[in-house]
Amino acid sequence: MIYREVGQFKTDYKSDSATFPIAQDRMGIAVMLVLALVVVPLYGHYSSNGEFFINGVMMPFMIFSLATVGLNILMGYAGQLSLGTGAFSGVGAYACYKLFTYFPDVNIILLVLASGFFAAGVGIIFGLPSLRIKGLYLAVTTLAAQFFLEWCFIRVEWLYNYDPSGAIIVPDIMSFGFVIAGPRADPVVKYLVVALLVIAMTWVASNIIQGRIGRAWMMIRDMDIAAELMGVKPLAAKLSAFAVSSFYCGVAGALMVFFWLGAAEVESFDINHSFLFLFMVIIGGMGSLIGSFMGAAFIWVLPIVIKFLPATFGVEVSAATVEHVNFMIVGALIIFFLAIEPHGLARLWQLGKEKLRVWPFPYA
């Protein structure tokens, strides 16, 4: 009833092939954008636990969503299994740090975007085996990438400017007259930068996926031999998938270090983070951009809920127990989703929308 498209006519091909043809969808996107860019910053600025909300919930949500979009491009749209997301994010983070060391006067946002290209390069190198192997075997090569890059982050001391602690610390960075990163920066300002960047990059990803390259990826995912027979160049398609995916992961890693954590050590990009992103993709729904956001929200918010829900009933839960219960719930949910709804939360959302179309009737 709310969601029907009655009365919405398309008078030319351009509007018919729009990404969001239904006006209610466009309204929904507008509402979400207003929420993300206006309501949340205002809440963060004026509310008492606003800073925790921004730093602990919204900012990591945005950053993880970006990385999940990257992994989703590789796994959901191009069909290549990857366990190296954490390491690719790390490459972006360390690249951004080195770029900042060499070019401290260039705008940090440009540096973040540039560091994505370094991550893309590394992604292409470790994606080269995908031309000969696929599936589980490819997962092993990405695992190799993960461990090897982790080792590089520790051993190649040039990466963290020979600091004895092995960690990188982000100093105050000015941009457009604001302190945009570092200890003195206002969390709301940092959040706005991150949110705008994530929204812009998601828009770009959406367009790539619906274009020629994205369709080539999906053809490769469905049956790569048939795709090759139909004229899709597997080299270009697979490597571009790795490149774009690693670009997104790299930018997410740079954002993670420069805007969220303010510092990084090698554990920030270890195999546990790779698994975390994998779970976000699976639970959110493979091959779905909105699924990436949902998956990231779910996986990130779950431990917070587990921690605070019993507290509202007066039961104290230790941090260790939270983590263990978190693992159990995530593991059980993965199995549950894979058995019941392999396309994850995104499909559930789609089903909900379809039900909304005919509501209050059970079927049209």
Binding site: L81, P129, R132, I133, G135, L136, Y137, A139, V140, T141, L143, A144, F147, F148, E150, W151, I154, R155, M223, I225, A226, I271, F275, L278, F279, I282, A320, T321, E323, H324, V325, N326, F327, M328, I329, V330, G331, A332, L333, I334, I335, L338, A339, I340, P342
Partner: protein, 318 residues
Amino acid sequence: MEMLNSIFIAPFMDMGSDWSFFIQVLWEGFVQGTLYALIALGFVLIFKASGVFNFAQGIMVVLAVLVLVGLYELGVPAWLSLILTIGFMGLLAVGIERIVLRPLVNQHDAILLMATIGLARFLIGAGQFIFGGENRAMITEEIGLPVGASEAEMFEGVVFFEHLDISAVVIAALMVTALAIFFNKTRIGRALRAVADDHQAALSVGISLNQIWAIVWFAAGIVALVTGIMWGARSDVSFALEIIALKALAVLIIGGFTSIPGAIIAGIIVGVLEKIFEIFWGPLFGGGVEAWFAYLLALIFLLFRPQGLFGEKIIERI
């Protein structure tokens, strides 16, 4: 010139200068390789019979030995703990078959793989929840494993052979023989091989897939228990073993996913080469190369012989 010398000549000079040390390194690598092979064996069993790569094998190893040590700490005598743990692994196998495998019959390989990743996550959480995350000591002597070491004098030096390591190699050899006999000579073993070949054909001949899967996961569970005991005896029982199990992936790539002798041989190769590379070439890289050397080997194999040394050639059908 200096670099070429240090890569191609100096390590071999080091090897040649102290033969007893080299033999010691070889032995250590051999034992480590046997342990990798044991982990890989569990993977191979399940992959051979159900075609699913069991990401949860590592945590099964940890859980098995945690239950064993946990029961012992509760006061149960060692031999009874062993039997009860075997029973627990059986229950776990049946549970996994019911809850994870049965709803996902006929799904794509990648879906099953991700389901086992989810299973691994769940078991890690459950294990830490029930047993706590701290390290425990293995009840080596109580279950009858020998301790102490023997020395052998050779090449003007002394090589130490720990009795535990010797027993690890012997037990691994016995286990492989037992599994080989099981697969080739018994009716259930034949049924397992039939299921590995083609699920539908096996069903049409009257083999109960659910039973076979439960049996296979139980067998893998027993292998996991033995692996856990041997690993736990050499270093404490901790959840770090779960990450070490990932190295078995590299072993499997080199040996072939469906071959038991392949897992053993590849495990030994990986163990020996890893140790030699770490000791003699490691200082060039600043140490710590053990973390990724196995994967580098696996990568080279993947590019030139993806089915591994003993695996079946992968034929793609449209």
